[in-house]
């Protein structure tokens, strides 16, 4: 589960206990580099391309993808960030709070938007993100890049670019940081 969701859903007093490292920091960097080339290849160039990271876990990955894409294509790629709290379908069922203010200063109309998140799980965050995104213009196309796809989808959503496919149990937790990707459990204190 993404860092963002974890801070919302963690029962009071619960703790993330890492069990195994599944990607090292350099694995993550290699995955970013590969995904940047895939984005370039798929879109036959980077014209009209913008990156939008999901708050908060997707934002640093979007920035790194942006830097790498600039090296690949030679042009600067606009990078924004999106908070989907007000578009979630579980408002009222659990505590939902915005993590940070959405920052999209460019019009998305006609652009190819690559949504970027750290972990793809149920797909509900992405569903909310697609709705939120439409407030900033009618994108020509929306693609999805995630560092980890951990399965257990509840909606018909699939990623276009994946750092690593990671089979998990539903009750496990995936934590993506600059130091790599950890798989672990939530333990009640």
């Amino acid at each position: 589960m993404a860092e963002r969701e974890r801070s919302h859903t963690r029962p009071r007093g619960a703790l993330f206990v890492p069990r195994a490292q599944v990607m090292s920091a350099s694995d993550v960097q290699r995955a970013v580099t590969r995904m940047a080339h895939e984005i370039d290849e798929r879109n036959r160039g980077l014209e009209q391309l913008v990156l939008v990271g999901l708050q908060t876990g997707g934002v640093p990955i979007a920035r790194r993808l942006g830097t790498t894409l600039e090296e690949v294509g030679g042009t600067a790629i606009p990078v924004g960030s999106l908070d989907v709290a007000f578009y979630r379908d579980d408002i009222g069922l659990r505590p939902v709070l915005p993590e940070a203010v959405t920052d999209i200063t460019f019009d998305l109309t006609g652009a190819t938007v690559v949504l970027v998140d750290d972990v793809l799980f149920t797909g509900r965050t992405i569903r909310a993100a697609l709705n939120a995104l439409s407030e900033y213009g009618r994108a020509q196309a929306v693609q999805l890049a995630v560092m980890v796809d951990r399965g257990h989808r509840e909606l018909p959503i699939r990623p276009d670019y994946v750092g690593k496919n990671l089979p998990t149990r539903r009750d496990e937790m995936v934590d993506v940081t600059d130091d790599g990707v950890m798989l672990g459990d939530v333990v009640n204190r």
């Binding site: 408002i91 799980f121 709705n131």
Partner: protein, 329 residues
């Protein structure tokens, strides 16, 4: 977040900081071409105003509609209250309709608190009760000050773990006017003090409450000229003629001479000092017309922030679900 917002003390410093932080997101929503989010779809909010108000009611209703909630507007003058129905029966009728939040304004201090005792799950928001409190007004004042301070500091909030409330520590806030009859002043004092600001009340003796015991104010003064020199924020209150505050001063002209923010007094403010007024302002009495239009005056900003702050309050009260979060999915 508590179930109700009846007074600033219900929130505490952390609750206030939370409201201000969530307001940032709603300000961003307000800047969009379509300033509406689906967050409270399917929820119903009732405004129950037993006292005339346009700006507060419209501000709350706009906030609720921008959250996609349904809004029932209930004005006492045209309701069954006129036919003799008691407040309790009115509230229980509304609750029985399945309303999620009641936003109430009443001329009696404590009416929202009483209503909160009668309801089960409905959230009650105080939109002004008698001389008691008007908490959302104080919150929007704080938000406006926080926004201005962040602009002055070039937006330096967030990255260092500061939610923008640190700047309130030691901030010199001067509240001028009819403190005695003002629910806004009570909420402002509680809110500024909760964040560590130093509040000075300035008013003629007749417009101060009989006792200031329990008010977390640093000082009380009757000399506006002396207090303005060090002020970071000057918050003006209206002379409330309809509440009889005119009877507590010899004349409005004499009030203006002693306590009005005239152009001469505004010139004595230090650079960067802010001027706030909850509105409706009476130009020429508590504030000179040219002062109200200075860049230091954030009065229009207060109004637009009011909608975002009330969106944050309604969102926090209605959207948080069961308090003890369980691992979802």
């Amino acid at each position: 977040m508590p179930q109700h917002l009846l007074a600033i003390d219900d929130l505490g410093p952390d609750g206030i900081a939370e409201v201000l932080r969530v307001t940032d997101s709603f300000v961003e929503v307000g800047h969009r071409a379509n300033p509406k989010v689906p967050a409270l779809r399917g929820r119903t909010v009732a405004t129950l105003f037993f006292e005339d108000s346009t700006r507060t009611r419209v501000s709350f209703e706009t906030a609720a509609k921008r959250l996609s909630a349904d809004v029932l507007s209930f004005a006492a003058g045209s309701s069954s209250v006129k036919k003799g129905e008691s407040l309790r029966d009115t509230v229980e009728t509304i609750e029985a309709m399945g309303i999620d939040a009641i936003i109430i304004r009443h001329s009696s201090s404590g009416a929202p608190t009483q209503v909160a005792r009668w309801v089960d799950d409905t959230a009650v928001v105080n939109a002004g009760d008698g001389w008691h409190e008007h908490p959302t007004q104080a919150l929007l004042d704080l938000y406006t000050v926080r926004q201005a301070l962040a602009e002055a500091a070039d937006g330096g909030t967030g990255d260092d773990g500061d939610d923008g409330t640190r700047a309130f520590k030691g901030l010199q806030v001067v509240i001028v006017g009819d403190i005695r009859h003002s629910r806004v002043a009570r909420s402002q004092v509680a809110a500024y003090a909760a964040l560590g600001a130093e509040v000075t009340l300035v008013a003629p003796r007749t417009l101060l409450p009989p006792s200031l015991e329990g008010w977390p104010v640093a000082s009380v003064s009757h000399d506006l000229d002396r207090e303005l020199v060090d002020a970071d924020v000057v918050s003006l209150l209206r002379v409330q003629s309809e509440r009889g505050s005119g009877e507590f001063v010899p004349s409005l002209r004499e009030y203006t001479a002693g306590f009005g923010l005239t152009a001469r007094r505004a010139a004595a403010l230090k650079p960067g000092a802010l001027i706030l007024h909850p509105g409706p302002m009476v130009r020429g009495v508590e504030i000179a017309s040219e002062v109200a239009d200075l860049p230091a005056a954030r009065i229009t900003g207060q109004v637009s922030n009011g909608v975002a702050v009330r969106m944050a309050v309604l969102f926090l009260l209605l959207a948080q679900g069961p308090g003890e979060g369980s691992l979802h999915e």
